[in-house]
Subunit: 203 residues, 2 copies
DNA sequence: TCAGATCGGAGAGTGTGGCTATCCAACATT
DNA sequence: AATGTTGGATAGCCACACTCTCCGATCTGA
């Protein structure tokens, strides 16, 4: 299909697709002549992915580009996971305090979770703990433990579903999409659970 | 304290604080004369809240403003919850499909959750389900049920902690801050759980 | 065959968000 | 009275995410 048809199918404007091509968010079509390039389903899927990551996950185009490149270059599911995690973790501006890092490591140890020592999540989580502490709402270990305990079966189910994927590229994409796109599902459900949990005292 | 001291204590620049005052993110200080206004701890706390909501929760200043106003005007915890939820829910551009709304309602019914019929979360969740479906990663009821089941005890613990608050304003603030600021904690823990759950197959 | 439409590509322009810098009159300080 | 600082208003700036305009090459219909 030509660019115009890709635009019609994806719902993006002609100009926006050109912009995404320039920005490296979309791989070029197969040039058939100077004025003719063939785009296929992979381009449609990519555009859907970009839309999902920007609109649902609220990511910037630059972050989307890094995630997309990481997924593309990954030769294995493991590699995809590592690259995607690096790309997904927000830049933590403030260095986390040592005490928060210790708390994170303690949490991991209590639950027997094996996480890479230089995994970005350790620092991201520690920084998040610092922030809530500064606002006078310190997270108790009890709360963190309940989070960890609740998430373990969920994570196992999710990982097992990703592992079913046929192809490496599909698996990598599924991993990233699943991690990111289910986050709004999870947080919205949590807010609903709050509403439900406080319902008895409602008017 | 004067504006300059508030700037020094909060870490924001003089100019930025003036900008926040204009934007309605920060309530004015008590004017002592034409060139002298008294700021207090409430201003320091507010600035910390703004920083937390923008930097950690990634919210726009306009959204922060709405949340802050909602919390300020709330006369009761219940009111604060309603106002905050309205403000917190992202603008859902696409209308959710009817079938997703049915799935959401089914989920709520299965778990006995009471949620307001016009709660924004129903539509937000349904729209999120539509999105993952479009990307070929449909959420099974099994997955949604496991999310809901995992989150219930967590939400109950969180709600009980908020209920301990002394003052209505403090309770409202705590509610919003808790809901929003613990989201990164939760999502980061989920990503860690993924890493831990797939560790056995790591190199 | 050839005039006009369409294509892909590149650069400049646009609008919004989040600050930042400059100016100003009023006041406080020495 | 001279100087410096304050709060308030206006305008400017920069990054992001497009969007518009132009261009030469090529495809298409009569």
């Amino acid at each position: 299909m030509r660019l115009a048809e890709l635009a019609a199918r994806s719902g993006f404007s002609n100009a926006t697709i050109k912009y995404y091509l320039r920005a490296g968010l979309l791989h070029p079509g197969e040039a058939q002549s100077t004025t003719w390039a063939e785009y296929d389903d992979s381009h449609v899927r990519r555009l859907r992915l970009v839309r999902a990551l920007t609109e649902v996950a609220g990511m910037s185009l630059e972050t989307v580009r890094q995630v997309v490149l990481a997924v593309e270059e990954a030769g294995s599911e493991h590699e995809a996971r590592g690259a995607a995690q690096w790309a997904l973790s927000r830049e933590v501006t403030d260095e986390p305090t040592a005490s928060s890092l210790v708390r994170v490591d303690g949490l991991l140890a209590r639950h027997g979770w094996t996480v890479h020592a230089d995994s970005p999540h350790r620092r991201v989580l520690a920084a998040a703990l610092d922030t809530v502490e500064q606002l006078g709402l310190p997270a108790t270990d009890e709360l963190l433990d309940s989070y960890a305990q609740a998430l373990r079966p969920v994570a196992e189910l999710e990982v097992s579903r990703v592992a079913e994927a046929e192809d490496t590229t599909v698996a990598a994409e599924r991993l990233v999409v699943g991690t990111l796109l289910y986050e709004p599902v999870l947080t919205t459900l949590r807010r609903m659970a709050h509403e439900a949990a406080s319902a008895p005292v409602r008017e």
